[in-house]
Symmetry: D3
Subunit: 257 residues, 6 copies
């Protein structure tokens, strides 16, 4: 009955999920990071320096942490999508979804038959999420499509209508560039803003989780108040360098008084 706690189960009763991105390929850094209060931790196999074997080790460490473990895959490729799910990730975020056909392929790689074509063999997922894993997967395992191109915006209503999709995630940097605007994360250019609004509307219409990246807590709060239900509060690398740099700079300033 219970089944693993995926994005939808975790979101129940909450306004929004707070996600953190792991870009560093270490199970210990992942573990440290995942214990700081996030709802979700996403291992970034796209821009992060993480590959499958790192992801396995990190998923093993995350099993003991109170977060939903997600993976951002590098591309719409069935091999890596199925492998990270078999390793225990409770969902994938897939970059550069531009059409409903691509979104449908994403869902098919993530879902077991009859909806999809994921091959059966959840070697670690079955071990840690229990014998009911395969039966519960349709509820617990998420497929998040990233919209980050003009083409994706054009097709967002069709994408959102793909059965079995869990949510849409906006990559505001790439989206801005694709729309021919500068890649700002703290505030959106009006053109970008309209695209964001359209995506949000499509998510609302279909009951999808709407996710986005936020560089700061204030920006995250703004975006959630606007309707997002999943917000990435920056990355492990950014946290590490921000605090280390701040301590060193503060000391240098004190020293030079």
């Amino acid at each position: 009955m219970a089944g693993p706690i995926g994005l939808r189960q975790r979101l129940a009763g909450r306004r929004a999920l707070v996600n953190g991105y792991c870009m560093m390929p270490g199970a210990f850094s992942g573990e440290v990071y995942a214990r700081q209060g996030f709802d979700v931790v996403t291992l970034d196999l796209q821009h992060g320096l993480i590959e499958y074997a790192d992801a396995v080790r990190m998923l093993q460490a995350l099993t003991a942490c109170d977060v939903v473990p997600m993976v951002r895959v590098p591309w719409l490729d069935p091999a890596i999508i199925m492998k990270v799910l078999d390793a225990g990730a409770l969902g994938v975020t897939c970059p550069m979804i531009g059409t409903a056909e691509q979104a449908d392929r994403l869902v098919r790689y993530v879902r077991y038959p009859p909806r999809g074509e994921r091959s059966l063999g959840p070697i670690r997922a079955g071990l840690i999420h229990g014998p009911g894993y395969a039966a519960a997967a349709a509820e617990s395992v998420s497929a998040m499509a990233m919209i980050e191109t003009a083409e994706g915006v054009e097709n967002v209503e069709a994408i959102a209508a793909v059965p079995g999709l869990t949510g849409i995630y906006i990559g505001p940097g790439d989206l801005s560039l694709s729309l021919g605007r500068p890649a700002r994360l703290d505030a959106f250019d009006p053109v970008v803003d309209r695209a964001v609004e359209r995506i949000l509307a499509a998510c609302r219409a279909r009951g999808l989780i709407a996710g986005i990246f936020a560089p700061t807590p204030a920006r995250a709060d703004e975006l959630v108040r606007r309707g997002f239900t999943f917000v990435t509060l920056n990355t492990d690398v950014k946290a590490l360098e921000t605090q280390a740099r701040q301590w060193v700079d503060e000391y240098r300033t004190l020293e030079s008084r």
Copy 2:
């Protein structure tokens, strides 16, 4: 002529060296951390989750960073001391030095004959620090003795007198416990404070680098003004968890308004 830039070369013209501890066994996290303004980065093989093979990978990444690469070894053991030096570390910090005899062993493991008994074969050190490495090692490679027990304090003048020692580093947590006081890092109990003073005096008398851990920039500044010339401004783990936690907490507060 030049030779590698070790602690003494880096200290020339500076008031104090700012050190950061790597506790996480990742070459990428090490690289990110080492590019935040530190003078020295110490790979902590004692309390960090780092072992020799990690240290090698991290030293490789640090070679391109503008820091002096040091290693804290887990114990006074010639095998690991010689191995990290051969791999390119420009010095070791050794915990739990309680006697002049132990300090002398440390120096002998770090120094080539005739002063010491380090075996010749600087496989990577020679490659990256250049053909003059072995000749310059007496100047460029450091031996830092940690004093963190009552016994070490008792013997600090004799320890400081050991020829070839580069400096003394205080572990204030262990030292406090060993002196029967609580392990405070932000301010010292009077008993601990007197021990610290005595160690500082011994360093000054022998021209040794005097190092210590500081939890905050303000505390680091205080300690440098007191006479320390090497100050550890916390660790990569602490930086990562402090900033990540702060962002999440800030968001949660904003959300719950």
Copy 3:
């Protein structure tokens, strides 16, 4: 003259090859497993937690074991197929082959010109299988197509007719699901059974190796008597957990008497 011992060479004079699946990414577990009497060990990069670098290490350990080293790749992707062959695998098993065109692509990725388009550069294969490796590859390196969908069954005669294919391997779990039947491994539903028979017939007609998964020795024997010439006798994970669980359970029962 000899050339490496691939599936066909090993099968000569035997009724069937006994294969074991490695799902665990360890060269030592692989080595232990491969020394228990198998004819073939297949590193499972699809459902196993193994990736390319693990496979390399495992292939290195298997070189000293008396088994034919095979790899199940995650998907019909030339990159991974050519990489594992260059690393010394003597064949690949490819999941989800549904059409003759896909089977032909598989063969082309596995075979050198003129039959195929495998790029020349058998970096480790040449080292360990000897200078005649490339010349012998057409005989010694196998291409096994997995049929595990309704589409694959429909096209099985055309698939079997693809020149250069070595054999067909049935994934009975996925096949059952694809045919809308429950995923039973110990006995086949009549619909599945007919599909299996059709595949066997196609293999016989073309002189192909016919492979399948068997959960138990008794089932393996049944399947071989039915005509299969390659039978997977479960996995390393299943062996480990079955025996460990049995010992613990047996003890608990004895203790509670």
Copy 4:
């Protein structure tokens, strides 16, 4: 208040703890093995092919498993003992303890001041076992001394009297050889049997956990009924090879009918 569940906490209300040895250096094999019903899993860094970095990854995976994570260290060496404890092991088993002085050193490496000299810095232990870890360590972290030589038997009463020791573990193979008897595990030679009895008596007298290796469930039950409270039910390697070999042999027998 609670504190981590170490050997003593787990033993409460049970007749004996069932331990499994991990000899294979894989976090996934460790995870599979640790989910088969054991009370304790010991990572064997002595005879197993596991080193510190493997142990860290395995401890990370074990954190989500319902077992007490222990480590058998290769030797009485403070470096490795303190490192595995800082990484989260809830105790160490140390081979070849022959004298009370050695047992005392073991306890001093495992215990914080004032009893011992373990250095403070439980980098991962603090993270996963919580802020009360250091305070609870005296209760939750175990020091198990292996007696496996004639000298150890001679000194067993003095060893058992060392304050802070948690238990004694018998290595029956080495003990037999040291006593000049063949290394049998299934039944003891009378000379060995008397030594075993003497060790058991010393444990009982001091309230120590008494541990031993057992090759089979029946032998484990016998030994527990004799008074042992900790019994190792063989290893992951033995489980893997026993079951794999049995399946292959069974098949070969069926095939050759």
Copy 5:
């Protein structure tokens, strides 16, 4: 302003770039090799035993070496191309480019919008190449297309005309086989020779870098005098085995006198 030193910047004022191939997956072997005088070191993820995680470690070591770090990817796959660039490679060489459409996809995976569709997030590239990395990428990051099939030769003028392509690299072994000639590297069959000439002409016409493999220094010199501006002077594996073998053979000859 400066920007990283890519192929074009390094070539300025030189007749040709000398490249070495790393086939061995070790950061230390890579570091040793890269310090022997090469202009460029290419990590071979196609035929080498190197995968992404190895490439990251090797790129970290190469950062401190005076070479342009390139990666040969296994196939025209956006995932691996974007990942190695984000990790700091200053270009990719892509095998088996047969058409202008494929060359255009290669350029699109390598270039940021508006020319291409590389996703923004140069996690390590930004760290080590500096904040101006993304802006300078069009100049500093190279896209090299391998022509090694008859089809590629047929289309070479169209391939060379693809905007944003940096150069063409000839794989003479595969090219010879594809043209139905033996795979000779030391001298070309006339048919191959004409193809090579045509490729060279296409490069000259478009101002592209023209690269090729050479087994020996003499052959490299010949090829550069013929017009190539990038020449691979064999591989790390070949260097290692040639010298080791020569020393052993020389000794055996001396011994047997």
Copy 6:
């Protein structure tokens, strides 16, 4: 009956064993190197960048190569000595043996009771060398003591007399420095030469293998003619850098004509 082929078995009927040192921590580089005609390959855990886990992977690859696998340990430490033997090394070379007592400890760590105190549990050695491994170990497993200090020379007759020692290996660089002479490898200073002669005489008197490092084949031949029966023909790093450098230099010379 047979037992594994150790140093003594390999030496039978040969004048001397040719050894190569692996300094690079890669199983593939080790495999390439070990297939170039050596009798023995020694994994150098002292000056090489190799640690235990690397050694395990390398020993796995060496199992399929026709060489005796040895390990040079970093120091006279029972933990690492027993671990590499359990992993399948057929002997250890131990640096810095200065006294008969140290040589005796070396032998005790290498030999099973009654001669020594090696703990029983040859986890991988038993797997690959067969069930007779432990019985054959006294013959097949070697203990080589390095003499490389003035103290070692003074005590060489006593060292050579230690029962169970297999041979003595001279480190001419460290030995020269310890004797206060420059570290030349191609020819010995007269003081060093006399020491070498004395060591050779002690080996002859006790029937021990006499080993030494040689930078070139000519030097190796000279040393074997002088009486050495084990000669190290340089290292993998030296081979790699010598050949790579030579090719680049040769090309640069040709280019600049």
